[in-house]
C-alpha cells in the first residue's frame, strides 16, 4: 500500500501546484503552442464521425500519438490502453485483453470495446474478438495516433461499442516519406524486424507499405500453483503486412496478420505441460474508402470492405498413457459490407449526419474434430446479415451550449432489431471549462459462437442458443474538463453503467454448456485525470475509482477498486535523449472463482535517443523495473486460476529512416 499512498500524495502535490500556477497565469508563448502541437492534437474524429475539438465531443476522450508511443515504449495497444484511466490490461499468455470501467471479466476478449483501424471495424464476426496484443493488425510503429472514446457509441457504430471505441489511425505515406527499418531485441528470446516504405508522390498518389516478423521464445519456466511448471511452452510468432494507398478522395487499405501462440497454461481438455498446444489466429481485411466534401458543406463518406478471420488450434490430449490424440478447431469467418455517411449543416446550427451500414457474414464456419483417428465433433456453418441506419444532430443552441442527439437502429437476421440512442449536452460556462452531461445506450449482439456453436454432444456438450437477445448497456456520465492554466488540464468524470441481459456461459447440472442471457451488471466510478505540458515535458496522472457488480459473481472478477497511473516524459539532453516513466498501481482483484489476487505497482522506464545521426533512433526500455511479482486472473477455458506476469525485462529497438 505504500506505493499507493505515495502516488496519492504525488497526485495531490500535482493538483496543488496546478492551482498555484492558476493564480499567476503566464502569457501563452508561440513556442509553447508549438510544443503542444507536437505533443497532442486536441481534436477527435471518432466521437461524432467528423473532426471536432475534444471539448465539443460528447464523451470522455483520450488521444495518444506516435511520439508518446515511442517515449513510453508501449509494445502493444493493450499496454497503451492500460495506461489510461478506467482501462486495465490483462494477459493470460494467450491473448491480451482490456477491461473498462470495472467490467473486465477474464474470457471477455475485448468484445465490449469496439476497435477500429482507420475507421474499419476490427472485432471479428465469430466471437466479436478484437486482438489488442501481439495479434493486433498493425505494428505499433505504424500507428500515427489513437483516439479513445469512452462510453456507449452504438448510436453511431452498432454492436460492441459498449464501453469504448478505440480508433487506431495508421501512418500515411507522408508520415514516413522514405524507408524505415527497425529491429528489436528483448528479453525471453524476443526479436522483431520490420520494413516500411511510405511516400507521398508529387502527383498526389500516396502509399504506405509495411511488413514485420516477431518471434519470442517466451518465458522459459512458468509456474502455475497446483498444476506444475510449463517449460519452454510460451512461444509466440507473428507476421504482419499492412498497406495503404490513397489517390485523391479514395483510400484503399488492408492488413494481414498471422499469430501462432503456444499455450503454457493448457486449455480445456488438454493435459497440462503437453507441448504443441497452440492457438493460431489469422486476420485480414481490405477496405476501400471514399471521402469528399462537396460545395455547400455536404460531406459524403462511403466504404466497402471485406474481412476474414481464421482460427485453428492443436489441442493434444492423452487418451491413455501411451496414446495422445490431437483435437483441433478450425474456424473461419468471412464477411463483406458497405457503409454510407452523409452530413450537412442546416441553418448554421444543426449539423446532421445520416448513415447506413450493411454487413453480410457469408461464412461463419466453426468445426472441431480429432485428427487421428478422425472424428468430427462440430461442424457449424451459417451466414447472417446486419443492416443499420443512424442519424445524429449536433445542435449549436448557443455559442457555449450544444446538444448532440442521435440514434441507430440495427436489424439482425437472428434476433431482430435494436435501437440505441445517445444524448449529450455540452456547456462551456467560461473559457477553459467544459461540462458534458451524457446519456446513451449500446448493445452487443449475440455472436455466431454464442448462437450457433454446437459441439461434442457425446462428451462435453455445447449447444448453440439461437434465441439469445443482445445485451445492453445504459450509461449516465458527467464529464468536467477544466483548463487550470496553460500547462495543466483536469478532467473529472463520474459515471454509472447498467448492463442488462448479459450473455454468459451457463453449465447445466447435466454438463450441457450454453450461452444464455442471464443476469445484469452495474458499475459506478469516478475517473480523475490531470494532464500537464511544459515545452518538451509532458505527463498525466490519473486516479480511477470503480465499483461493479456482475450477476453470477460474488465479486466482479478482475475489477480493481482503485487504479493510479502516472506517465511522465521529459528530455534529458536537448532534443537527443528523452526519458519516459510509467507507474501503475492496481488494487487487489478477484479471480473468476472468487479468490483474490494482491495489488501491484509496476514501473516502466524508457529512454529514447535520436538526432545523433540523421534518421537513427534508439529506444531502450526496462519494464517492471522493480521486478514486482504479480499475477492476473485467468480466463476460462485456460486451466489455472491466476497467471504470473513478466518480471523485470527489457527491450532495445533500433530504427533507421532514410
Amino acid at each position: 500500500m505504500s506505493i499507493y499512498r505515495i502516488l496519492v500524495a504525488i497526485s495531490y502535490c500535482f493538483c496543488l501546484s496546478a492551482q498555484a500556477e492558476d493564480t499567476t497565469p503566464l502569457p501563452a508563448k508561440a513556442t509553447d503552442e508549438q510544443d503542444l502541437l507536437f505533443s497532442e492534437l486536441p481534436s477527435v474524429f471518432t466521437a461524432s464521425r467528423h473532426e471536432q475539438p475534444v471539448t465539443k465531443a460528447p464523451a470522455s476522450i483520450d488521444i495518444i500519438n506516435s511520439e508518446q508511443i515511442k517515449r513510453y515504449g508501449w509494445r502493444t495497444v493493450s499496454a497503451m490502453l492500460g495506461s489510461l484511466p478506467g482501462f486495465i490490461s490483462t494477459y493470460d499468455r494467450a491473448y491480451h485483453h482490456n477491461g473498462v470501467r470495472g467490467f473486465a471479466p477474464p474470457g471477455d476478449y475485448n468484445t465490449r470495446i469496439l476497435v477500429l483501424i482507420d475507421g474499419h471495424r476490427v472485432n471479428e464476426s465469430l466471437q466479436d474478438y478484437a486482438g489488442l496484443g501481439q495479434d493486433f493488425l498493425v505494428d505499433m510503429e505504424n500507428i500515427e495516433r489513437v483516439e479513445v472514446v469512452r462510453g456507449p457509441a452504438s448510436s453511431l457504430y452498432g454492436s460492441s461499442a459498449l464501453f469504448a471505441v478505440v480508433n487506431v489511425i495508421t501512418q500515411r505515406g507522408r508520415d514516413l516519406q522514405g524507408v524505415r527499418t527497425s529491429a528489436d531485441l528483448a528479453s525471453y528470446g524476443t526479436h522483431r524486424g520490420q520494413l516500411s516504405y511510405g511516400k507521398k508522390f508529387a502527383n498526389g498518389l500516396e502509399t504506405f507499405l509495411s511488413a514485420s516478423h516477431y518471434h519470442s521464445d517466451g518465458r522459459e519456466n512458468l509456474n502455475f500453483p497446483g498444476l506444475g511448471t510449463a517449460h519452454n511452452l510460451d512461444e509466440d510468432e507473428v507476421q504482419r503486412v499492412h498497406g495503404k494507398l490513397t489517390w485523391e478522395d479514395f483510400t484503399f487499405s488492408g492488413s494481414w496478420m498471422s499469430r501462432k501462440k503456444y499455450l503454457p497454461t493448457g486449455t480445456t481438455g488438454t493435459t497440462f505441460g503437453e507441448p504443441n498446444v497452440y492457438y493460431h489466429d489469422r486476420r485480414a481485411y481490405a477496405d476501400l474508402n471514399y471521402q469528399h466534401h462537396f460545395e455547400g458543406d455536404w460531406a459524403v463518406t462511403g466504404r466497402a470492405f471485406w474481412d476474414s478471420y481464421e482460427f485453428d488450434d492443436d489441442l493434444p490430449y492423452q487418451l491413455s498413457a501411451s496414446q495422445t490424440i490431437v483435437n483441433e478447431d478450425r474456424w473461419q469467418g468471412q464477411w463483406f459490407g458497405g457503409e454510407l455517411l452523409l452530413s450537412h449543416t442546416f441553418f448554421d446550427a444543426h449539423r446532421l449526419t445520416l448513415g447506413s451500414e450493411f454487413r453480410h457474414n457469408y461464412q461463419e464456419l466453426m468445426t472441431n474434430q480429432d485428427v487421428n483417428p478422425s472424428y468430427v465433433y462440430a461442424n457449424n456453418n451459417q451466414s447472417t446479415s446486419i443492416v443499420g441506419v443512424y442519424v445524429q444532430d449536433e445542435w449549436t443552441i448557443l455559442d457555449n451550449l450544444s446538444l448532440q442527439a442521435g440514434g441507430r437502429y440495427d436489424h439482425y437476421d437472428n434476433f431482430g432489431g435494436t435501437f440505441n440512442p445517445r444524448l449529450g449536452l455540452i456547456y462551456e460556462p467560461r473559457d477553459g471549462t467544459t461540462l458534458k452531461l451524457l446519456y446513451g445506450t449500446a448493445f452487443r449482439a449475440p455472436n455466431a459462437f454464442e448462437t450457433a456453436y454446437t459441439c461434442c454432444i457425446a462428451s462435453t456438450p455445447w449447444i448453440g442458443n439461437s434465441s439469445l437477445r443482445p445485451e445492453h448497456i445504459e450509461t449516465y456520465e458527467i464529464v468536467w474538463e477544466q483548463r487550470l492554466n496553460q500547462y495543466f488540464d483536469l478532467r473529472v468524470s463520474p459515471y454509472y453503467n447498467r448492463l442488462t441481459d448479459l450473455i454468459s456461459l451457463r453449465i447445466a447440472d447435466t454438463g450441457v454448456r450454453q450461452f444464455q442471457n442471464q443476469g445484469n451488471a452495474e458499475a459506478h466510478g469516478l475517473e480523475t485525470q490531470l494532464k500537464g505540458h511544459y515545452e518538451n515535458i509532458e505527463g498525466r496522472l490519473s486516479h480511477t475509482y470503480q465499483e461493479s457488480r456482475i450477476g453470477g459473481y460474488a465479486t466482479s472478477p478482475n475489477a480493481p477498486l482503485h487504479m493510479i497511473k502516472l506517465n511522465l516524459s521529459a528530455p534529458l539532453w536537448q532534443d537527443k535523449l528523452f526519458a519516459g516513466l510509467e507507474v501503475q498501481y492496481v488494487s487487489s482483484r478477484a479471480t473468476t472463482i472468487g479468490n483474490r489476487v494482491s495489488n501491484y505497482s509496476i514501473t516502466n522506464l524508457t529512454l529514447l535517443s535520436r538526432h545523433w545521426l540523421p534518421g537513427l533512433e534508439l529506444t531502450g526500455g526496462l519494464y517492471n523495473l522493480f521486478d514486482e511479482h504479480y499475477v492476473d486472473p485467468a480466463s476460462p477455458p485456460l486451466s489455472p486460476d491466476v497467471i504470473s506476469q513478466d518480471g523485470r525485462n527489457f527491450r532495445v529497438r533500433m530504427s533507421y529512416e532514410f
Binding site: 501563452a28 508561440a30 513556442t31 503552442e33 508549438q34 502541437l37 507536437f38 492534437l41 486536441p42 481534436s43 467528423h50 473532426e51 500515411r172 507522408r174 508520415d175 514516413l176 516519406q177 522514405g178 507521398k200 508529387a202 502527383n203 498526389g204 500516396e206 490513397t246 485523391e248 478522395d249 471521402q291 466534401h293 458543406d297 460531406a299 449543416t345
Partner: protein
C-alpha cells in the same frame, strides 16, 4: 528628438484641454530628461516661443536648412514600430533635412480626436503613420499635410487620397513565389488563403505563375475567422501546402491555432503570415525587415520634402527586403528536406 505619447482618455480625465496644447503629451523621461508635468504645462508656451524664435532666427540663419517637423503617428507601441521609426530617422539623418520628430500614439478609443487636438497647434511638414488604425485616422482627418503610411496592409486606400503614399506590408507575388519554390519545390497542390477584401490581384498573379509551372492553386478566401472551420473541412487532405498570403486581420490567435492543427494533423505544411506564425508551428513565413521598411518610408519622405514631389505621384511601395523565417522542427515533422543552398539566405532558422 522629443517624443510625445498622447492618450486621449488621460487627456479628458485630467482636463488638460484648457491648456490647448498637444495636451497630455507625455514626454518620455528616458528620452528627454524632462518632467512630465513641467512638459505639459510648458508645452504650449514653448511651442509658441519656439515659433517666435524660429521666425526671428530664420533670416539670420538663411544659409542653414530650416528644421522640418515630422509627426510620427503610430497605432500602438511595439518593437516593429520602433524599428521602423529608427530606420526612418536614420535614413533621413543622412540628408540635408534637419528633421525634428514628435510621436503620437493612439490609444484604443481615441480615434481621430487626439490627432485633431494635436494639429491645432502643431503643424508638421509630413506625417508618417505606422499601422492601419493610425493611417485611417490620418487619411480621414488630414488633407493638407503629406502622409507617408507604413506597416499597412491595404495600400489601395492610399491611392484614394492625393496627399498620401506609403509602404505596404504585402510582399509582391514574385517574392512569395520565389520562396515557395525554394522551400517546397515538390508542392503541386496548394490551397491559398487570402483576403478577398484586399482584392484578388495577388492571387491572380500567383495563379499565373503557378499555371506556367503546372502547379494547382486552390482558392481559399478568408474574410472572417468564422470562415475557417468550413473552409478547412472542404480542403482536400491530399494538399501539399496551405499558404496564407495576406489578410492577417482575418485571423485570431485561435484561428491560427486551428490552421496549425489542420497542418499538423494532415502533415500539410502551413506557410504563415509572419515569424510569430512560424514560432507557433508554421513551416515558414516571409517576415519584414522593419528597419528597412522605415528606410523605404524615408525615401518617400525625402522625395516629398526635398524634391517637392506630390505624394499622389509616388505610388505605394511593397517591402523590398524579405526576412524568411523557417521552422526546422516543423520541416522535420513534415518530413521535408530543405535544400541546403537556401539556408544561408534564410534570416532565421528556428530549431
Amino acid at each position: 528628438m522629443r517624443q510625445f505619447n498622447l492618450r486621449y482618455a488621460a487627456l479628458k480625465r485630467n482636463e488638460y484641454n484648457t491648456l490647448r496644447c498637444v495636451c497630455a503629451m507625455t514626454a518620455r523621461p528616458q528620452r528627454t530628461g524632462s518632467h512630465y508635468l513641467a512638459e505639459v504645462i510648458s508645452c504650449s508656451f514653448l511651442s509658441r516661443l519656439g515659433w517666435l524664435l524660429a521666425s526671428l532666427t530664420i533670416p539670420a540663419l538663411a544659409s542653414v536648412s530650416a528644421a522640418t517637423d515630422i509627426l510620427i503617428l503610430q497605432s500602438h507601441e511595439g518593437q516593429p514600430y520602433q524599428m521602423a521609426v529608427t530606420g526612418f530617422e536614420s535614413s533621413l539623418a543622412n540628408t540635408k533635412l534637419d528633421a525634428t520628430y514628435q510621436t503620437l500614439t493612439l490609444s484604443n478609443n481615441s480615434g481621430g480626436d487626439a490627432l485633431i487636438q494635436l494639429l491645432k497647434n502643431y503643424h508638421p511638414k509630413l506625417i508618417m503613420t505606422l499601422g492601419t488604425p493610425a493611417t485611417h485616422v490620418s487619411l480621414a482627418q488630414v488633407k493638407a499635410i503629406p502622409i507617408v503610411a507604413n506597416l499597412v496592409l491595404d495600400t489601395d486606400k492610399l491611392r484614394e487620397n492625393t496627399n498620401a503614399t506609403g509602404v505596404g506590408l504585402n510582399f509582391i507575388a514574385s517574392q512569395h513565389w520565389l520562396w515557395l519554390r525554394r522551400i517546397l519545390p515538390d508542392a503541386r497542390h496548394i490551397a491559398v488563403l487570402y483576403d478577398p477584401g484586399q482584392g484578388t490581384t495577388l492571387f491572380k498573379a500567383l495563379q499565373k505563375q503557378a499555371q506556367s509551372e503546372g502547379i494547382e492553386l486552390i482558392q481559399a478566401p478568408v474574410t472572417h475567422v468564422d470562415d475557417l472551420p468550413s473552409l478547412m473541412e472542404d480542403l482536400s487532405p491530399q494538399l501539399d501546402a496551405l499558404w496564407a498570403v495576406n489578410g492577417a486581420s482575418a485571423y485570431s490567435a485561435a484561428a491560427v491555432r486551428e490552421l496549425l492543427l489542420y497542418s499538423f494533423r494532415n502533415r500539410v505544411p502551413l506557410i504563415g503570415l509572419s515569424g510569430q506564425w512560424v514560432k507557433a508551428g508554421a513551416l515558414y513565413a516571409l517576415d519584414w525587415d522593419y528597419d528597412d521598411l522605415g528606410a523605404q518610408a524615408a525615401e518617400l519622405a525625402k522625395a516629398i520634402l526635398i524634391k517637392g514631389i506630390a505624394p499622389a505621384s509616388l505610388p505605394p511601395l511593397s517591402p523590398r527586403k524579405v526576412r524568411a523565417v523557417l521552422n526546422m522542427k516543423t520541416a522535420e515533422h513534415m518530413k521535408l528536406q530543405i535544400a541546403e543552398r537556401w539556408l544561408p539566405e534564410i534570416a532565421e532558422v528556428l530549431q
